[in-house]
């Protein structure tokens, strides 16, 4: 059938089973929005800002495993997506961004709202396309979805000049082919890896975001059981292993547990699954894993020997490899090692002291949240201390329960991401943990929550400072708190109500439970202004450049 470029875009989204997109209209995408007006199958969520839309598409993708889609106009509309696309790229999230551009004859003439967005986004996309002919459009959109989901996932951008959205051509629907799985790793190396695990007396499993991307949580659990090893998850893998399990020892790295530090110090084999040895995990790479052999399982061969030299590398799909490992391995027993790990867990629990008798600790807030939601809520976060506290103190049980900007560390990510997560998971309780610094970056999306009645809980840990930077200033900059004391005059409750969002306050310890309970039961968007002391630190902490084996437990 003969369709316009705009109609082809929407039909191609429907081919991919897309039912929700996030975006913001503008001159260059007028034709697409006109077609959208006549397309009730696609729900378009209008955010306050394109950046919010990009984070929402990302949050939708992370929390559902589907591809997130964001639509924006040319020029500033497109550049406002950049932070969101870079965030998705660093954390390997499948997002397709569609931008309008000026008409083809106007390209390159510094036309109004023209920007070379394919040039701008080259380093932060898996690939991008500038559509030159309407006949190419359908093929490009299908290819974009394939690229976003194949191998190591990631964002793809499609830039469509306005004239192409108006031109017509023949469109034939095509059902998407299943995403190809990568081949199994070389069998010889696979067998060597199996032997290596069999010989190990003190194995330690360290899992990353690749476990979630490969939907390999069940296989990871079975593998840990089979090998009889402790498990640590990176920030990107929170929920990839049930944190109620005895085997779970907390995060590894800069704000990991002392138990995880001891495990990396004393293990004889580190089995790294779906992780890229980020500097936030390895700390000093020169000394990381110096006492053990390392087996790395990853889908992206560029991650082998990039940050850390490994002994055996297995390239492929984590789910398939772990499953094959489980078949190839006997049931192993490491009672003495597991006993030692258990003793460390008892000796070094995560702790946080309130500064006053009735002071609120983030630990208690997250533990209460975990209890009230039976550990089933989706927690999105901004970036900073609250992000680490969420990872440390909420008990994540399932994949895709934590949505956080790990690689890029994007303040302002969480609220948009929470909207996407809630729309993708209408039956879940979605809480965005924020600091007051991050909150001020993209609080405009409260308007979106109110407009669509998206019942997210915006939980602001309000300490009046940029807590994480302040913590570094306290430790390494002689307590010179340069530009981190915010002293804003914001009335959070009034602001929320101004946006049409209900507001609640946690001012002291006894407020925690009733306020959180009320927020959860509200069934509408709620802002919780949670007042905490500005001098609560994130601990343990490995200072920059130091060995991950020696975290500071107190400051």
């Amino acid at each position: 059938m003969l369709l316009t470029g705009s109609e082809i875009i929407l039909q191609c989204l429907l081919e991919q089973k897309v039912d929700t997109i996030f975006g913001y209209p503008g001159g260059a995408v007028l034709n697409i929005y006109d077609a959208l007006y006549k397309c009730p199958e696609i729900r378009h969520v209008l955010t306050s800002h394109e950046q919010g839309a990009s984070h929402a598409a990302d949050g939708y993708a992370r929390s559902t495993g589907k591809v997130g889609v964001v639509l924006a106009t040319s020029g500033p509309g497109a550049t406002n997506l950049v932070t969101g696309i870079a965030t998705a790229y660093m954390d390997s999230v499948p997002v397709v961004a569609i931008t309008g551009n000026v008409t083809s004859p106007q390209l390159g003439l510094d036309s109004f709202q023209e920007v070379d967005i394919t040039g701008v986004t080259m380093p932060i996309t898996k690939h991008n396309f500038l559509v030159r002919r309407v006949e190419d459009l359908a093929g490009i959109i299908r290819e974009a979805f394939r690229i976003a989901q194949t191998g190591r996932k990631g964002p793809v951008l499609i830039d469509v000049p306005k004239d192409i959205t108006a031109q017509s051509c023949e469109y034939t629907p095509v059902q998407p082919a299943p995403i190809e799985q990568p081949p199994m790793p070389d069998h010889g190396w696979f067998l060597k890896a199996v032997e290596m695990i069999k010989k190990s007396e003190r194995p330690f499993i360290y899992a990353g975001g690749g476990v979630l991307a490969a939907e390999a949580a069940e296989e990871l659990s079975a593998f840990a059981q089979k090998v009889d090893a402790p498990v640590s998850c990176s920030l990107m893998c929170q929920g990839g292993f049930d944190q109620r399990s005895e085997r779970y020892i907390g995060m590894l790295g800069m704000h990991g547990t002392k138990t995880a530090s001891n495990c990396i110090r004393d293990c004889d084999l580190l089995i790294a699954v779906g992780t890229r040895f980020s500097d936030r995990v390895t700390c000093d790479t020169g000394t990381f894993g110096k006492n053990c052999k390392i087996l790395q399982i990853d889908i992206d061969p560029a991650e082998f020997n990039k940050n850390v030299e490994v002994n055996i590398r297995l390239k492929g799909d984590a789910k398939a490899i772990l499953s094959a490992m489980c078949e190839a391995l006997p049931d192993m027993q490491h009672a003495a090692w597991m006993g030692q790990v258990g003793a460390w867990k008892t000796e070094y629990p995560l702790a946080q002291q309130a500064m006053t008798d009735d002071g609120v600790t983030p630990k208690e807030v997250f533990e209460t949240l975990a209890e009230l939601t039976d550990g089933e809520a989706i927690i999105t976060t901004e970036v900073g201390q609250h992000q680490m506290w969420a990872a440390q103190y909420f008990t994540f049980r399932h994949p895709r329960q934590m949505v956080t900007s790990g690689g890029l560390g994007t303040m302002g990510f969480g609220l948009g991401a929470a909207l996407g997560a809630q729309l993708g998971n209408p039956d879940s309780i979605v809480i965005n943990a924020a600091g007051d610094g991050s909150f001020h970056m993209n609080c405009n999306e409260l308007a979106t929550a109110a407009r669509y009645n998206i019942p997210v809980i915006e939980l602001v840990f309000n300490n009046g400072v940029l807590g994480m930077v302040r913590q570094w200033q306290r430790l390494f900059y002689g307590k010179r708190f340069s530009q981190t004391t915010l002293e804003k005059k914001t009335n959070y409750e009034l602001l929320a109500e101004g946006f049409g969002v209900k507001a609640m306050t946690i001012a002291k310890r006894e407020d925690i439970r009733p306020v959180l309970k009320a927020a959860i039961e509200a069934g509408e968007p709620v802002l919780v202004n949670c007042l905490i002391d500005k001098d609560i630190n994130v601990l343990p902490m490995v200072p920059g450049g130091k060995s991950v084996e020696e975290p500071m437990l107190t400051i």
């Binding site: 040039g119 080259m122 380093p123 898996k126 500038l130 560029a302 082998f304 020997n305």
Partner: protein, 159 residues
């Protein structure tokens, strides 16, 4: 140990290909010594030769990261000892009455061509491997090199 790494990239000849390759090198902090991009027999395929300075880790990263680019078909790290390696150079040298004959003698010894002779300068051209070109430049330096331009290395295997 740092060395020159010769990389051959075969890619679909799409708009922006060279920009993608260069963006990758910039993002990954790879240090490009030279880059030559040209079509081969098939106009839809582009061949890019890149010389990168780095150690073995860099060589592996260059290979794997380039391989992830969507337009790239294949990446090879070439062993400089096992390929025919050629680079093209034009060089302009000062000339006076005395030195003219000497310059031509040097050019002949290297099988270089004389492109143009002016009243006080001479333009020469030479194709050869990197070592030949380097020694040619060294020979000409005492006369006063006014300008020099080199293409960067290209390579081909026979067997």
């Amino acid at each position: 140990m740092e060395k020159d790494i010769l990389v051959k990239v075969t890619a679909h000849n799409c708009p922006g290909l060279l920009q993608r390759v260069c963006a990758l090198f910039s993002r990954r902090f790879f240090n490009i010594q030279s880059i030559v991009a040209a079509q081969n027999l098939n106009p839809e395929v582009s061949q890019i030769f890149i010389v990168v300075r780095g150690d073995n880790r860099i060589a592996r990263q260059v290979e794997k990261q380039l391989d992830k680019l969507y337009d790239v078909v294949s990446v090879e790290i070439l062993d400089a000892d096992k390929v025919i390696l050629r680079e093209h150079m034009m060089i302009k040298v000062k000339k006076d009455e005395e030195s003219g004959a000497q310059l031509i003698a040097i050019a002949n010894a290297f099988h270089a061509s004389v492109l143009q002779v002016g009243s006080d300068a001479m333009a020469l051209e030479l194709s050869g491997d990197v070592r030949q070109l380097n020694s040619f430049v060294e020979m000409l330096k005492p006369f006063g090199v006014l300008e020099m331009i080199r293409t960067g290395a290209m390579a081909m295997t026979v067997s």
